[in-house]
């Protein structure tokens, strides 16, 4: 049966068909739908872990215990999971283990553009890279076989365009995999230095064996056409190259990107007049070619930043450009914004009003950095708001403490904010941390987490008591506010900033997009009372605009949150 599937859905189908039984992940665009789709197969146990390190450790444990296991994350998530990754590489597997990592060239939804292939090389874990949905499924299945054959975890590298493009997939049946026998084997699984030294030798031998495999395997494919131009490529850049050159070039399409073959590349290059390496982000394939003495052109033409496309390749290599018309005047940009009714809005308005320094974090609320709210000073990585604030306060002292806050979402706080809060209490700064608890992991499209009381299947689960958790970290001042009441938020922020000890403010209201949230009717504007003062525009609500000097509320967007009503001194905005 043929089906149109997202790369991520096809990946999950591959897990199903390969007989995977345990999956633990943390959501992150563009990887999230792999696990969401896997959770729809009842044969696979799936969970959202608190972070990627936990997820990979769960997958490693399940593999050692004999199951085919899986975990998924975005590229920066692999940094969090790097600790177990580098040693899981040494222990190897029992049941096959695959890690799905989705890179984001072009940074559609990420804070950096790192190339996960570096982690594969550094951890000596083999990596495969599909170029469409069908390959996402097939490569995943093959990765499980190879994982067990070569006794190593495997990484399947996705990129945004593969993860979020639908293409045609032929469905197969699931092959059930009975649990492998679990045998206690300390020399393999306990990485004492004495054991690890021997394991490292095995890892190096394994890499050589995998390189030998890469020389002649179904993952790597040569397509000879016209041999004037030879292109060595992988993933989406293969598709872009094919679209530009079709039969007018020859291709070495690499499905296995770590380790890379040597003879295969040398033989291909010897057949072609000019050889280009077309790869996104870093020069992994190109450096390898140069290291083995193969002359290629790559980054000198394409550079290291952003996504490639058929247009870039056609322009750079053929000097061809398509004709098109531009609109006749300036088109204003439309950046992403907090939704109408977003519970974060009121908090950021208050922080802007009070001129606070805001140590920010990763989530929908990073949009609090944009005008007109403009209330964020830093965003580094998950959890850095809390620990970073402590560092700022240690550096600048008591006066600074009285105007600086950290903001962090519920899911991000669980992911890696807790340890930062422990540090604030233990190493004593009068830091003020605001947990924006919207009862969901929002930005990645509504995943449950340990604060919501539900698991990935939507079934009731243990629920973290955030107030009790913060107190047990050593924070005495913990209070809850409703972000729809801005005056309440403002009073709380002022009081906690003034307090001579650390404090946590939990701003609690569910995301306005959650299905169970009942919306109030859209608010209306009494034009006779509206004086056109534009105070309502200062909260940056996409439902409010000014037409002919008067405030207008878009009834298709407004959910009646009432924040603008609090802004409207003449009382023109009403129910």
């Amino acid at each position: 049966m043929k089906k149109l599937m997202l790369g991520n859905e096809a990946f999950a189908r591959g897990l199903y068909e390969a007989g995977v039984t345990v999956c633990s992940s943390y959501p992150g665009t563009p990887s999230t739908e792999i696990t969401e789709a896997a959770a729809k197969y009842n044969e696979i146990y799936c969970e959202w872990a608190p972070n990627e390190k936990v997820a990979l450790e769960v997958a490693a444990g399940a593999s050692i215990a004999g199951a085919r296991s899986f975990c998924a994350m975005k590229h920066v998530g692999l940094n969090v999971a790097a600790d177990p990754l580098y040693t899981f590489s040494y222990t190897g597997v029992n049941g096959g283990a695959v890690i799905g990592v989705a890179d984001d060239p072009g940074m559609h939804s990420s804070q950096n553009e790192q190339d996960s292939r570096h982690h594969a090389i550094a951890s000596k874990v083999p990596m495969v890279e599909p170029a469409d949905s069908s390959e996402a499924k097939e490569f995943t299945k093959l990765a499980y076989e190879l994982s067990e054959k070569f006794d190593t975890p495997f990484i399947v590298r996705m990129t945004t365009r593969i993860s979020h493009s639908q293409s045609v997939v032929e469905l197969c049946d699931r092959e059930e995999r009975p649990l492998k026998e679990y045998v206690k084997d300390a020399a393999k699984y306990v990485t004492l230095p004495a054991h690890a030294r021997k394991l490292h030798v095995k890892v190096e031998e394994r890499t050589e064996a995998l390189r030998e495999y890469a020389e002649n395997c179904p993952l790597n494919r040569v397509e000879y056409n016209d041999k004037k131009i030879g292109i060595i490529t992988s993933g989406t850049p293969y598709q872009y190259s094919k679209e530009v050159f079709g039969k007018n070039a020859s291709y070495l399409k690499l499905g296995m990107v770590n380790p890379l073959p040597v003879k295969l590349i040398k033989d291909f290059a010897a057949e072609c007049e000019t050889v280009y390496v077309i790869e996104e982000l870093d020069d992994i394939i190109e450096s390898h070619c140069k290291k083995i003495g193969v002359s290629v052109k790559g980054k000198e033409i394409f550079g290291f930043t952003g996504e490639l496309s058929q247009a870039i390749i056609a322009e750079k290599l053929l000097g061809e450009k398509k004709e098109f018309s531009e609109f006749s005047e300036n088109v204003p940009v439309r950046p992403p914004v907090m939704c109408a009714g977003c519970p974060h809005r009121g908090v950021f308005y208050v922080l802007n009003k009070l001129k606070c320094v805001v140590s920010g974090d990763i989530g929908c609320y990073t949009l609090g950095a944009s005008a007109p709210l403009s209330a964020m000073d830093t965003t580094i990585c998950m959890g850095a708001s809390v620990s970073g604030l402590h560092g700022m306060n240690k550096a600048r002292g008591a006066e600074f403490e009285k105007k600086a806050v950290a903001v962090i979402g519920d899911s991000t706080f669980i992911h890696s904010g807790i340890t930062g809060l422990v540090n604030i209490a233990y190493n004593a700064t009068n830091s003020t941390v605001i947990i924006l608890d919207n009862s969901i992991t929002g930005m990645t499209g509504h995943q449950q987490n340990p604060t919501t009381g539900y698991n990935i299947k939507g079934d009731p689960a243990a629920k973290i008591d955030l107030e009790a958790l913060c107190r047990s970290c050593g924070i005495n001042r913990v209070r809850v506010v409703d972000p729809y009441k801005m005056s309440e938020v403002e009073a709380a922020v002022k009081e906690e900033l003034a307090a001579e000890e650390p404090s946590v403010i939990i701003s609690r209201r569910p995301c306005a997009l959650l299905k169970y949230v009942k919306h109030k009717p859209a608010l209306k504007v009494d034009s006779a009372k509206c004086v056109g003062c534009k105070m309502c525009l200062k909260i940056g609500c996409p439902a409010i605009s000014i037409h002919d000097g008067k405030c207008v509320i878009d009834h298709t967007q407004c959910v009646g949150c009432g924040i603008c009503k609090e802004m409207c001194k003449p009382g023109a905005i009403c129910d």
């Binding site: 559609h108 493009s165 639908q166 293409s167 300036n330 499209g445």
Partner: protein
Amino acid sequence: MNTKSIMIVGVGGQGSLLASRILGNVLLAQNYDVKVSEVHGMSQRGGSVVTYVKYGDEVCSPVIEKGEADVIISFEQLEAARWLPYLKKGGHLVVSEQKMDPMPVITGAAKYPEDILGKLSSLGADVTSVDALGLAEEAGSPKASNVVLMGVVSTKMELSEDAWQKALEECVPPKFLELNKKAFALGRQAAAN
């Protein structure tokens, strides 16, 4: 056949994902090779979003570049202007008459251009504009404006109405099927007028 390229553009949250899924399923049922490239994540939050649908004997790249789209379907006027460079010479532009001010316009940092539809036509684009939001409300929900636009587009493509109805049944939850069928019919009707 050569690859055909259709772009669906709009504002995050307007329902372009459903529209592209309906389109993808219609095309797959005709045995074409199909690729549909979507936007998830941060830009979905009220930002400018674009979905690419490509079909033919063999589709390679999942994305559409400037000067390549045979059809652009825009859920909003300003977005039609933004993505105009992607339209091939002689391509069709199907535009919902809805206007949504982006944040720089709301804050007063920029101005929403006047008479976008007129200007698009004068630039040589073949423009079909409809009050998709009004028709969707007539069908029962403003959220169905995506399906109204699919109705309009269906008149620009050589596929049977039956194929479209089947794709609607596959992609829309049964609870909303009647509403969406009505929205689709209103879109077809509007295109004919």
